[in-house]
């Protein structure tokens, strides 16, 4: 059937476009605090983000994807394969267009919420309002408030603790070294738990919650003290910004994890619908979930990598403008709060977004009087775009669906 081959080719193009947009819009969430704090150069940040996103996508990314992301639309609409084919295509295209628009407006949005919104649009056109799981939709709405707020509170208190225990001390360096096992340990603890609970690979290992906690604690303990020994060796007391320097290393670790997890979790936003199209063209029907071939994950990973490097080059152009972002301690607090929020909220079953958590984290530092200048008008605009994401993607998806239905 030549027509379906064309659909598949079109699907690949749109899927790549979606992945590219994910990279361009999301990379800043993990890497901005690190680059802003000058913990790594922009080139290094791009390199790290590209490598980790691809690794995350291919090795940790899910090899099975739900046909309808996040189960927000009832699977009843899946009976007609032709409809699903058009639906997957229009959802993917609508979500990418919205994310691309937001990137063009330079506002970070949630790529997951975009694809969810687009799926809702497709669901409504294909099956009416009754196919929408309103409880799940309510969870999405709740996550707009809960994840930034949660992250804000964590980063606020974490930064206050760092101020009280380290920065305000006479010999900040000694204190930061003394307490480094605690900060490294907590970061490793969150990272290990996230890895076990949140990544598809971790889920396959199926370790029980209690065992996971124990394992995370032991690994955190070892890493904490080993990290202190290594830092002692690398960071010299004579360094006037020794305390910040110590947090620089911890922060890079936390940001690397966010990049890895992003690759693992977000690749499905692009590759999921693509896998559905691929599966439909190959077999002719589709169930509630479809397997994702590794080459598709790699395809998505490369797409994200391309988006990252484009966004990265833009950062390079603009960083010359003396933007005062964050110091290492503040950047660490933001990254830590982001990782923790994403872990806890997704454990609660909320479809959280790294983007929302990262912005909340920055606000927390702001409330703790830790940032020299944050533009609140931009923050309000970002929040408006979070809310607009679902309806905008839904409406676009409906329109594209109708057009594609007419053509195909």
């Amino acid at each position: 059937m030549p027509q379906e081959i064309y659909v598949l080719i079109f699907g690949y193009i749109v899927g790549f476009y979606m992945a590219w947009n994910i990279g361009a819009n999301d990379v800043a969430n993990s890497m901005a605090p690190v680059v802003g704090a000058k913990a790594v150069t922009i080139r290094q940040a791009i390199f790290i983000a590209v490598i980790l996103n691809v690794i995350g996508a291919v090795f940790i990314g899910s090899h099975v994807t739900n046909t309808i992301r996040k189960g927000i639309v009832s699977t009843d609409i899946l009976t007609d394969p032709h409809l699903v084919l058009i639906g997957a295509l229009s959802a993917m295209l609508a979500a990418s267009l919205w994310v691309n628009f937001a990137t063009w407006k330079s506002l970070p949005v949630s790529t997951t919420h975009s694809i969810v919104g687009a799926m809702i649009g497709f669901g409504i056109v294909a099956g009416g309002f009754s196919v929408i799981n309103w409880m799940k939709l309510a969870a999405v709405v709740m996550s707009w408030v809960i994840s930034p707020l949660f992250s804000l509170v964590i980063s606020y208190f974490l930064f206050k603790i760092i101020l009280r225990l380290i920065l305000s001390k006479k010999n900040a360096f000694i204190w930061s070294l003394k307490l480094s096992p605690f900060f490294i340990g907590s970061t490793v603890f969150i990272v290990v738990l996230s890895f076990l609970f949140k990544t598809p690979l971790g889920k396959n290992l199926s370790i029980k919650a209690l065992d996971a906690l124990m394992l995370a604690f032991i690994i955190a303990f070892i890493f904490g003290f080993a990290g202190m020994k290594i830092l002692k060796h690398f960071v010299k007391e004579s360094n006037p910004h020794g305390a910040e320097e110590i947090f620089r290393f911890i922060q890079i670790g936390a940001a690397c994890y966010v990049a890895l997890a992003q690759g693992a979790n977000d690749v499905a936003n692009a590759v999921g619908p693509l896998a559905v199209i691929y599966f439909l063209v190959k077999t002719g029907n589709v169930g509630a979930s479809v397997p994702v071939p590794v080459f598709l994950l790699l395809f998505g990973g490369i797409g994200i990598a391309c988006g990252i490097s484009m966004a990265g080059h833009r950062v390079m152009d603009t960083m010359g403008k003396k933007i005062t972002a964050l110091s290492n301690t503040r950047g660490f607090a933001v990254n830590f709060a982001t990782a923790t929020t994403v872990l806890v909220a997704s454990k609660m079953g909320l479809p959280v977004s790294t983007t929302h958590a990262a912005v909340g984290g920055v606000m927390g530092i702001g409330f703790a009087r830790g940032v020299e200048a944050v533009n609140l008008s931009i923050v309000y605009k970002i929040m408006l775009y979070w809310i607009l994401t679902v309806p905008a993607a839904a409406v676009t998806s409906m329109v594209i669906f109708k057009i594609l239905q007419f053509i195909l």
Partner: protein, 222 residues
Amino acid sequence: MRIPFFNMFMTSPFEGLQEHAEKVKECSLVFQQAIECHFSPKCSTFEEFRDEIARLESEADAIKRRIRGHIPKRTMTPVSTFLIFRYLKQQDAVLDAVEDTLDWISYRSETKMPVELEKDFALLVNTVIDPIENLASMVAEAREYFKSYSEKQRAVVKDIIHTLHQQEREVDKFEDIIKKKVFNMEIDAVSIIYLVRLAEIIGSIADHAQNAGDMMRAMLSK
């Protein structure tokens, strides 16, 4: 700014305050040279110094406008933007007073300083230089404080503010001495007005520096 996430951050107003303070500091040396030149019997470069101050003043003005123009109403800063503007106004007033002094002198450039006042005016000018220069280090130390919020660093800034107060009292004292002397001199009325006003304008430099210190103290409040 075309990067998602990055565009929340903006150029810090403290960056501008520091730049402005450096400009103020730069003018202190020129000011001192201008006054010394004016006191010396054959001074030919006074106007050049005056031009130099005018140039520095207009550069500082540009910085001031840039700071004001780049803080939108909704900006999250460690201290209220209102205080930042009030501080900036005082820091700028220091520079204005320096310029006013040289302008005032230029109106009667042919009048030579009476010999018995030369030493007093030299002392007054010397005392007023330190507070001008202290502003830059005050801003730098304050930025350090906002990074660490350490009590030690807060004390450093408070010390500078305290010094500014002491220096202002010192300047007041010299200003007083000069005015008293002028009124007891056998000179024409216009010269009296000229000299009294000159002492007052120079004195006001320290007043504004002290006010800047007070604004900084308000920013440090917890």
